[in-house]
Amino acid sequence: GESVGLHLPTLSVQEGDNSIINCAYSNSASDYFIWYKQESGKGPQFIIDIRSNMDKRQGQRVTVLLNKTVKHLSLQIAATQPGDSAVYFCAGGANSKLTFGKGITLSVRP
């Protein structure tokens, strides 16, 4: 079946360092992929998305890389800040329907 999953459940980084969060997906029919950030007690917040025909997209302090050959997605956060601490989800989208992975917790050490 369709699934999107993350390699690691938790990631701890030093403030100021770069973070890399990885995700694997199984459904090649996804038209696009999205990274969401979710803080405790809140709904997911959009970070960045990428079309399936692209391999890289940059935002403010974030970069998403897509490798369709190995069905791998990553989120890079530059100069990680305490406010980046949250659970991060990748999701694959097709026909407006999103399939989310389980989530990884990013913890930023001061």
């Binding site: 959009f46 026909n95 407006s96 999103l98 389980k102």
Partner: protein
């Protein structure tokens, strides 16, 4: 402007009872989505509305779950004969566009606890 709002924020009910969860999308957003999120998991798609009609309800787990959006704005998710396994956070999201990559804006969710 206001974001997506959901009421109530918390709902505790007893097994077998009926519950309604409300979602107020961002004004002007034609698409509305319901998801369910269990502890430690990512949101799970339930149903998607485009305007007043359910464009995709393939995620509804069974016929105890039903959702409406009669005027194309506010939506209500209805759960009959609740079971303990229905306990989760129910998230609503809305977006501008019809299909495609329209960014989905999520509400804070309703935490449903079935005792």
């Amino acid at each position: 402007g206001a974001g997506v709002s959901q009421t109530p924020s918390n709902k505790v009910t007893e097994k077998g009872k009926y519950v309604e969860l409300r979602c107020d999308p961002i004004s002007g957003h034609t698409a509305l989505y319901w998801y369910r999120q269990s502890l430690g998991q990512g949101p799970e798609f339930l149903i998607y509305f485009q305007g007043t009609g359910a464009a995709d309800d393939s995620g509804l787990p069974n016929d105890r779950f039903f959702a409406v959006r009669p005027e194309g704005s506010v939506s209500t998710l209805k759960i009959q004969r609740t079971e303990r396994g229905d306990s989760a956070v129910y998230l609503c999201a809305s977006s501008l566009g019809r299909g495609g990559r329209g960014e989905q804006f999520f509400g804070p969710g309703t935490r449903l606890t079935v005792l």
